[in-house]
Amino acid sequence: MIRLDDRRPIGRVVATETLPAGPHQFHFWTATETPLGIGAIVRVDAASGRVVYAVVVDGRAYSDLPTPLHDVVAAEGDPAGATGPTRRAEIRLWTAAVLRHEPEEPVQPVPIAEVHLATEGDVEVALRMDGYARAEPSRAIPVGAYRAGGLRAPVSLDADFLLGPESAHLNISGVSGLATKTSAVLFFLASIFQRFPRTKGSVAAVCFNVKGPDLCFLDRPAELRAEDRELYQLLGVEAKPFEGVRYHAPFKADGVNLNTLRSHPDLVGDVQPLVWGLREVLDFHEVLLNRDDIDAKADAFLDFLADRVVEKDFRDEWGNAHRVRSFTELERLFRAIFDGLEAQGRGDIWRTHHIATIRKVRNRLLNISTRCKGLVTDDGSVSDLPFGSFADRSIHVIDVAGMDQLGQDLVFTRVVSKLREYLERRELGVDHVVVFVDELNKYAPGDGPDTYVRKMLLDISERGRYLGLVLFAAQQFRSQVHRRVVGNAGTAVFGRMDMDELATPGYHVLSPATRIKLATLPKGELMVRHPHFTQPVFVRFPRPAVLTGPEGIAQFPPASDVPFDDAVVRQLAALDRRVAPARIKDLISGRREEDVRRALLATKRVRPEDVTGFFTSSLGPAVQRERVERPAGPKPLKHVEDPYAP
C-alpha cells in the first residue's frame, strides 16, 4: 500500500491512439494496491507547469490473460488449479474527468505526467472553492467532507449559488430510508444558518413535515458519534440543535387537539395552531376544487364572492345585509339567495350567475370546511405563520403529516404564495427563505394534470432566486419530477439511488462506475453537483445534531387525545405551568366551544406573561343563561259546532 504521507505519485497518465488523453478526460494507471477509488480527486503536474485537477469516474483492472479460455487451458479445466506459481501482470487503469486546468487557457489535452492524490488545498482549487471560500466575507457553505485515501477535506457550496441571486435551489434525490435526504437537508440548513454571511442578509427556513415525526424535534439535541463530531469540527459547523424553531400544526377534527406527533406535554406548548378561515381558503380555491369544477362560470362566481362579498358589507336584492367572514355566514348568504329566488319566482339567474353554478360553488366551498376540518374553521378565527415578522435564522416547521392530500396542498400553496407575496414587497422580515418540501414528485410530477401547486413550484424554481425564495426539495425519483423544476435547481444532491432510476436517461451523463457507486452509497454519503463543480463530487456529512423522528418519539411520546376541557388545560399549561386546571375547567364550563377555541388561539398567539388572565379576558364574560318561561301557548279557538272540523 502506498503511504499517503509521502508525496510520491500514485500513478501516471497513459495515452494511446485508442485511449487518448483529452482536455476533459484522461486515463492513468496505478499500482494494484492503491488508496484510490471512484470519486477521488487527483492532480496531474506537467513539466511545463500546467496543473490539471480531475476526479476519478471509472476504473478497470485486467491482466495479460488474452482470453478466459487460456485460463481454462492452464488450469486443465480444474478451477482449483487455476493459480500458478506466478501471479499474472495486472493493471489498475483509471479514467478521470477533468475538474480544472491551471492555467485555464489554452484548453489542452491532459499532459502525460505523474498523478498525485489531491491534498486539502488541491481539493479547494479543483472544485473552484477558492473563489468563494477565500472571499471576504467567505461565501462557503459546508455540505460535507471529501474523503479519499485517508484525506478529509471540507467541501462547500457558494452561498450566492445556493440561496441566490446567481442561481438557487437545491434538489436531493434518493431511495427512502437509505438516502438520508432529510438528514442532509437539516445539516445543510444548520450550515447555512451558521455560515451564511450576515452581510448577505437574513435567512429563515420553512419546512413542511409531510410524513411522521421527521421534523418534529429540530430543537432537541442528539447524541453524536465521535466521527460525526470530527466532521462538524472539520467543516467548521457547530454541532447544536436549531434555535428559534417554531412549530405550526392544524387541529384535529375535534378542533382542540393538535394534529401533530409533537404533542408531548413538554413540547406541545411550542406548537402554534394553524387555523384559517374563509378568506385564507377562498384565495386558493383553485387548489381545493377539482379541475372539472373550475369552468369559466364557476370561476366567475368565485371571483365575484372574493371581490364583492367576503369581508365586505353586502346587501342582497331582498334587503338582507351580509358581512361574510366565515363559512357559516357564507352559508347564510347562499340560503338567502336560494330563498329569495324561490320566493320571488324570478327564475334561475342571480346577478348573471345561474343557480346551478351557485349551487355547485356552494357545495364545493362548504364541503371544504368538512374536508379540512381542523385547519379551516367556521368561526372566523385565524392563526397563521408570522408573515412580516420572520426572524433571522429561524425555522418554521409546518406539520401537515396528519392531513390528507387536499389539506397538504392547500397549506403548501398558501404558505409559499404568502412567502412570495411578502418577499416581493420585502416585508417578510428576512431577505431569504428556504422552503423545504419532501415528496416533490407528488407536488410537481413530470406528467399528469397541470395543477395549481405545480404551476406555483415552477414559478418559484424559475423566478424564486430573484426574490430570495429558495426551494430545497427532495424526492425519491428525480425522473418523475417536472424537468423545469429539477432543472432550475442550481445544486443537485444524490443519496443512495435505485438502479431503475439510474437507468433513466437523466443519469447517462454519469459513468457506469459512478452510477454503481450511487446505487451502493452508504448512509451519510452524497454526490453533489454544484455550478462551480464541473463534475459531481462525493461527500460525507455528519448526522444532524437534532433528534430524529423515531428518537424524538421515543424520548417524547405523543400524548393521547383528551376531552375538550382537558385539551384546553394541557395547551395552556404548556404555556405556563402555573395554570390551575380546575380554574380553567370552571372558566370554560358551559361556554361555547368556538369561543373557547378562539380564546385559546389568541393566547397561544400572544404568549402572554399571565396566561390565565389573558385567556380569561379573551374568553370574555360568560353570558348568563336566561331562563325563558315557556309561553302559555295560543289561546284556544272559539268553539264552532262544525261536524267536519279536524
Partner: protein, 304 residues
C-alpha cells in the same frame, strides 16, 4: 488452442523448411544406459525466490557508408525474481552500440562515428564486401553482445543469491563458464534444431507422454565441456506437433542435477500456469520468461 507447431498433422505447407545449422550432436548417458521415459509425478510448487533471466536484441541499419552498413543495436537483459507469486526486477542492464565492418569503412567516417557517445564495434567479415553477409555478421555481433550481457547478469545474480534458482531462457552453454560450480542454474531450451540422441533413444525422447521426462544425459558444451540435460513434456502432444510442449532442461554437470531432475521437472510442470499465451510458443515458454521479455520490451521504448 494451437501453439506454433512445426509439423502438426494436417497443416498444409508451401515452403521448404529453413536449413538447420547443426542438426546433430553427440550425447552420453548419465542417469541410465538407455534413454528411458520416466514419470515425474504430479506438478509441485516451485521453491520461493526463483529468478528468471532473459535477454533481447534489436538492431536496425542506421545508414550506409557507400555500400558498408552501419548497424545500430540495442541489447538488454533482465532478471525478475519471484517472491510470493509476484515478479519484480532483481537486475537488468542494456547496451546500445553501432556495428560496422571497420576494415572497409573510411577512416574519416570511423572518426566521425567515434565522436558520438556510442561504442562502435567491428562486425568483422571478409575484405570482399557483400551487404547481406555484412548484415549477418553484424547481427551475429549483436547476438554475441546480448549473450555476454546475459552472462554478466547471471554471474552477478548467482554471486549475490547463489543458493536460489536462476532459470534461463535457452541453453546455459554460455553461462556455465562464468558461474561457479554448484550454481542453481537451469536452462530451458524450447527449440530442438539439434538432436543429441538417435534411434530408440531419440524416439523415446520425442514421444514422451505429458508429465514425463527422459533420463538425464550429457551433451557436449562449451568451455566447461559438458551440460547435463533431459527432455520434459509439459503438454500432451497427441493431436499436435511431435514437439508440442516438449522442452529440454539443462543443468550444470553436477551430481545433484541427476538427483533433482524429477523434482525440478515437477515444478516446471507447475509453471504451465499461468499460460504464456498469446505467445505462439505458449506450450514451451514459461510465463515468467514471457514476463521478462515483456519487461524488456517495455524498457526498450522505441526499439520494441
Amino acid at each position: 488452442m494451437r501453439a506454433r507447431g512445426r509439423f502438426a498433422p494436417g497443416d498444409i505447407r508451401s515452403h521448404v523448411p529453413p536449413p538447420l545449422s547443426a542438426p546433430f550432436a553427440t550425447a552420453t548417458p548419465v542417469e541410465h544406459e538407455r534413454i528411458l521415459q520416466l514419470a515425474t509425478g504430479p506438478a509441485a510448487d516451485p521453491p520461493d525466490g526463483v529468478a528468471f533471466l532473459d535477454g533481447t536484441q534489436r538492431w536496425i541499419v542506421e545508414r550506409w557508408i557507400g555500400i558498408q552498413p552501419v548497424v545500430r543495436a540495442h541489447v538488454a537483459a533482465a532478471v525478475l525474481r519471484r517472491v510470493g507469486g509476484a515478479l519484480s526486477e532483481a537486475d537488468s542492464d542494456f547496451e546500445e552500440f553501432r556495428v560496422v565492418p571497420r576494415h572497409r569503412v573510411p577512416a574519416d567516417w570511423l572518426a566521425e562515428l567515434g565522436k558520438q557517445e556510442m561504442a562502435v564495434l567491428d562486425a568483422g567479415g571478409d575484405d570482399r564486401a557483400h551487404p547481406l553477409l555484412d548484415l549477418r555478421q553484424a547481427a551475429l555481433r549483436v547476438e554475441g553482445r546480448r549473450a555476454a550481457l546475459e552472462r554478466k547478469l547471471a554471474a552477478r545474480y548467482l554471486a549475490a543469491r547463489g543458493g536460489e534458482w536462476l532459470v534461463v531462457d535457452g541453453s546455459i552453454d554460455d553461462l556455465t563458464a562464468t558461474t561457479s560450480a554448484g550454481a542453481a542454474l537451469l536452462g530451458l531450451v524450447k527449440s530442438h534444431d539439434t538432436q543429441y540422441l538417435d534411434g530408440a533413444d531419440l524416439e523415446a525422447a520425442l514421444t514422451l507422454p505429458e508429465g514425463h521426462r527422459t533420463s538425464v544425459f550429457a551433451r557436449e558444451s562449451g568451455e566447461r565441456g559438458r551440460v547435463f540435460t533431459w527432455y520434459l513434456r509439459l503438454w500432451p502432444w497427441d493431436d499436435h506437433d511431435l514437439l508440442h510442449g516438449l522442452v529440454r532442461v539443462e543443468r550444470p554437470p553436477e551430481d545433484d542435477a541427476v538427483a533433482t531432475a524429477s523434482e525440478v521437472s515437477r515444478w516446471l510442470l507447475a509453471e504451465r500456469a499461468p499460460l504464456a499465451a498469446p505467445d505462439e510458443r505458449w506450450d514451451r515458454l514459461l510465463y515468467p520468461i514471457r514476463r521478462v521479455e515483456t519487461y524488456l520490451g517495455a524498457q526498450a521504448g522505441g526499439w520494441w
